[in-house]
């Protein structure tokens, strides 16, 4: 039996090495691989990793630079008005095939958009479907010919059109039409749709081969993948060239494709299979990587300090660092006194020395940020936005904060006194401009078990504020408790500290601060109400030109840095590691890291 087992294992190993199989680690099992469910109630990043690129969209982002480029579309859309609607006429690539060999046509696009819209309107299909194909914007899709579609929009806006519907997933009509019809006849159509096995074809380079529940998922490469040999070339002059010499597809945009090449990414797939191993314990996954059992670990938060220390210096392992698209922040409840006073918020901002927090307290594990668009999102980041107190010393920050508070009418029973960089007398009994003593201000922050960085920062904010007599009390609580106080209890808070993971297109600037999003349970949690901001935000949401949208986004960032409904604290780099003796990625540093690119399964190569 033992000999038989050894022989079998040898055969397995031989077949593995012959077949270019790579093993990657994930920490959670996907909740579903059914596309309706994944973009509906059961969306998780772990589903995303495993479903990597299965469903194409009409347009997508280029690698690293995030230029908006055609994906299943053959060219940029033609825009014109037809009656009351705006029409986007889109030519489709004629060389695209579904994984079952069926050609991809306009019927698939029309079926997807019209079916999703019907399910949203008639049955309440929600989740990411509703944010991709927002029925307030998208009216319908129509086929012009097999390879041209027209999509009708009620109104325009980059967020909901170019970065919304045109980037939504496309599913196959041949497979899903009978299934949708069957579901619509059932008692609960959405539940029926969510229950189908993930056997449908995709336009990606891999198909699901096996899902061994609790242990692993294996995706196998399509041997006759239609886009094998596809090349994306990014030029330093901003131009993008997409070509596939095997199929004859060629597209050029954003200038002439000449001069130095910034990045060239070729599509394979270059591996035969990818096995996503499920490790429930991070330290064991790290050990598995050191052992050579896995060549890359997916983690949306990246590697933590202890894990980095464990991996650093190990042979065959390379550690990479990428900027992340997210930030941690403090929100002020501007519905409450004294958080509704701009000078008070600015004084708090002056006291919070983000450089000190990031570099001294958090030992370089975080990067200070000054605006709501993190620096990693290069195109939309306004580098001219400065933080209050930048370049000032400890004493100068405090003097300026006292000056601002006084200017707004604040007084103290015992006024704080600053000499040089020292506080010679702590402030006591802060009295507001209305003559009333300021009572305790609660700062809700997650506890050290959930996020030690935020817990530490909250304690420092309390300390610095208390030195000036501002009675802030950091309350380190469970994450869910903060969510409950802020969203469920109709903004029952003074200040809270949380974080956001963001999208490339910064329409969240409007989502978080437009006055129309101030209602109970909505996202303008500070209750920021500035008509001037609303006007710019509306223009930004309605903009159809990307350059115009960029200028408006810059303006929004400046206004928010001045008014401070959020005090943006810091972002964290994403550290990742992979085995250089097993795999090669076409690039390593990108916004949100390689995990943000789902591990580039179609472009990763094995080391020969």
């Amino acid at each position: 039996m033992k000999k038989l087992f050894i022989l079998f294992m040898v055969l397995v190993v031989v077949s593995i090495f012959g077949a270019k199989v790579i093993n990657w680690a994930i920490y959670e099992e996907p909740k579903t691989l059914n596309i309706w469910n994944h973009l509906g109630p059961n969306a998780t990043v772990w589903n995303d990793y495993v479903m990597a690129g299965k469903y194409g969209s009409l347009y997508g982002y280029s690698d690293v630079r995030f230029d908006w480029i055609p994906a299943l579309a053959a060219d940029m859309p033609k825009k014109y008005k037809e009656g009351e609607y705006w029409v986007y006429e889109i030519p489709l690539r004629q060389d695209v095939k579904w994984s079952d060999g069926t050609p991809f046509t306009a019927d698939d696009v029309v079926f997807t958009i019209n079916t999703v819209l019907k399910l949203i309107k008639d049955y309440g299909l929600g989740g990411n479907w509703a944010s991709s194909y927002d029925p307030d914007f998208v009216e319908k899709a129509e086929k012009v010919d097999d390879y041209t579609v027209k999509i009708y929009f009620k109104k325009l806006g980059l967020a909901k059109v170019e970065f919304g519907a045109l980037m939504g997933p496309i599913i196959q009509k041949k497979f899903w039409e009978p299934k949708v019809e069957e579901a619509l006849k059932s008692e609960n159509p959405l539940q029926t749709l969510y229950s189908y096995e993930p056997e449908d074809p995709g336009t990606g380079a891999f198909v699901l081969k096996k899902w061994e529940k609790g242990a692993f998922v294996e995706n196998t490469a399509l041997p006759d993948y239609y886009d094998r040999g596809f090349v994306e070339v990014l030029y330093k002059n901003g131009a993008v060239e997409l070509k596939n010499e095997n199929t004859g597809f060629h597209w050029v945009g954003y200038g002439e494709p000449k001069g130095d090449v910034e990045l060239k990414v070729e599509t394979g797939p270059f591996v035969d299979s990818i096995i996503y191993r499920i490790y429930k314990e991070k330290s064991v996954a790290i050990t598995a990587m050191i052992n050579g059992d896995v060549s890359f670990i997916f983690n949306p938060l990246g590697l933590q300090k202890g894990e980095l220390d464990q991996l650093r210096g190990k042979p065959g392992i390379k550690i990479t660092s990428s900027p992340s698209n997210g930030f941690r922040y403090v929100a002020f409840n501007m519905r409450r006194y004294p958080m509704n006073i701009k000078e008070f918020r600015q004084a708090i901002a002056l006291l919070v020395d983000r450089d000190f927090i990031c570099n001294r307290i958090l030992a370089g594990q975080a990067i200070p940020v000054s605006t709501l668009v993190p620096p990693g999102n290069v195109f939309w980041y306004n580098k001219d936005v400065k933080t209050l107190g930048e370049g000032m010393s400890y004493g100068e920050r405090r003097k300026k904060a006292i000056e601002l508070l006084k200017k707004a009418g604040f007084k103290w029973i015992v006024e704080p006194k600053i000499k040089g960089d020292k506080i010679v007398r702590k402030g006591k009994g802060l009295i507001g401009p209305d003559g009333r003593k300021i009572e305790e201000i609660e700062l809700l922050a997650p506890g050290p078990g959930y996020d030690p960085m935020r817990a530490t920062t909250a304690i420092f904010i309390e300390k610095w504020a208390n030195e000036l007599g501002i009675p802030i009390k950091a309350n380190l609580v469970d994450f869910n408790y903060i969510v409950q106080r802020v969203w469920e209890e109709n903004f029952n808070y003074d200040m809270y500290m949380l974080g956001w993971g963001l999208t490339i297109f910064p329409d969240y600037l409007a989502d978080f601060f437009h006055s129309k999003r101030m209602g109970p349970g909505d996202f303008n949690t500070p209750g920021y109400n500035n008509p001037e901001f609303d006007e710019v935000a509306d223009k930004f949401l309605e903009a159809t030109d990307i350059e115009e949208a960029r200028k408006l986004a810059f303006k929004l960032q400046e206004m928010l840095a001045e008014d401070l409904p959020y005090l943006v604290l810091f972002t964290t780099p994403i550290y990742e590691a992979y085995r250089v003796d097993q795999i090669v990625f076409p690039y390593e540093e990108t916004l949100d890291g390689l995990q943000g690119q789902l591990g580039l399964p179609a472009a990763v190569k094995t080391v020969e």
Binding site: N23, P41, A130, K210, A215, K280
Partner: protein, 383 residues
């Protein structure tokens, strides 16, 4: 006896309803709810989030939700999981239970066997070095920080010595071409285990009617060896033996860890009971009759000291249904314990209550079985 069983069954039903109610309200009392996670997506308007709440029934007041739950519970329906929507809670339990059962039942058996054998030996040599050493080692493992021991075992046996697999319950590179899924193999392994235990039980009953020690030994050991050989042959010829072997290989480390962690409990129970029994007159009589020490220890003392251990063992078997959060996490063994953790973290109330109710039922049944066993094992006890 039948009257007693009937009375206890009724108590169990009442207790179960009280238990479900308490568990349900504890879960409801936690801050936030499952839909809170959608708060983190600013693309979802309050209207869409309200629709999601409606979909999960979270728009209704908690008391109405409780009534719905109890109504379904009476129909043996544990509801639909939020986290794995639209999967039924019973489906999820069906998927995870075999992995947990096989691992934790085996570990419980091994741990109690080790505890029983060590306990009777150290009690017999009370006060000597073996007694002190075994008690000390047992207490050290009993109180050790579980993840630390798990990590140490992984480091020693999987990383340094490379004797055992590092983690997970199967080797993906082997199973990627497997013609069946792991759950089927787990079920067959469980059936094999039950088959061997059943054969052993029958052999023990037959042996109790036999007169000579030799005949008894032949019956018990012969049956055990024969049933193991039959099982191995059947597995070898099934074409899936390699997969069964892979699971068994992956079980060694978690079982070793669980045994080290828990054998002291049964060992000390056995030791203490034995120490009381060795003072009894019948033990002195047996020794005075000139019976060998081993016979007095095993046949006269250990058998009578077994009663509390069996009670503990049967109740532990009931708890094996719940798995173990730390062990399952450390060894990536996704069974009932990890499902608890997942359900708790995401406030999937139907799944969490369903898992607790399911475990509760088995623990209550195990208590009943222990009570009944008492009557069989100790002639002095009558209900």
């Amino acid at each position: 006896m039948l009257k007693y069983i009937g009375k206890r069954s009724l108590q169990i039903v009442i207790l179960l309803f009280i238990y479900v109610t308490i568990v349900y309200w504890i879960m409801e009392a936690m801050p936030g709810n499952f839909a809170s996670q959608y708060v983190m997506n600013p693309k979802l308007t309050p209207e869409i989030r309200e629709k999601i709440k409606q979909q999960f029934g979270l728009d209704k007041p908690p008391f109405i939700r409780y009534l719905y739950y109890m109504k379904n519970f009476l129909k043996f329906d544990l509801g639909t999981s939020f986290l794995y929507y639209p999967r039924k809670v019973t489906d999820i339990i069906k998927e995870r239970l075999p992995r947990t059962l096989f691992l934790f039942m085996t570990a419980t058996l091994v741990s109690y066997s080790v505890g029983y054998n060590l306990g009777k030996r150290i009690a017999w040599k009370r006060g000597k070095f073996v007694d002190k050493a075994a008690t000390f080692v047992g207490i050290v493992f009993w109180t050790i920080f579980t993840p630390l021991l798990a990590i140490f075992n992984i480091w020693l046996f999987a990383v340094t010595l490379k004797l055992l697999p590092l983690n997970q319950f199967i080797e993906p590179n082997l199973w990627r071409t497997a013609p069946i899924d792991s759950n089927t193999v787990f079920l067959r392994l469980l059936l094999t285990g039950f088959w061997i235990l059943l054969a052993l039980l029958v052999a023990l009953i037959v042996a109790s009617f036999q007169k000579t020690l030799m005949a008894k030994r032949i019956t018990v050991w012969g049956t055990l060896t024969a049933s193991i050989i039959v099982a191995l042959v059947l597995w070898g010829r099934s074409g899936i033996g390699i997969y069964g072997l892979d699971i068994v290989k992956h079980m060694v480390l978690p079982i070793l860890t669980l045994t080290l962690l828990s054998f002291a409990g049964s060992m000390l129970v056995m030791r203490d009971t034995m120490l009381e029994i060795v003072r009894e007159d019948y033990i002195t009589t047996a020794k005075a009759k000139g019976l060998p020490d081993k016979v007095v220890r095993d046949k006269h003392a250990a058998r009578n000291a077994l009663l509390p251990l069996i009670t503990n063992f049967v109740i532990s078997l009931g708890f094996t249904m719940s798995g173990g959060i730390i062990t399952e996490t450390m060894f990536s063994w996704p069974g009932m314990g990890l499902t608890y953790l997942e359900a708790l973290n995401s406030q999937d109330i139907p799944l969490l209550v369903g898992l607790l109710v399911f475990t509760g039922i088995f623990v209550l049944i195990a208590h009943l079985v222990a009570d009944i066993l008492y009557a069989f094992l100790d002639p002095r006890i009558r209900y």
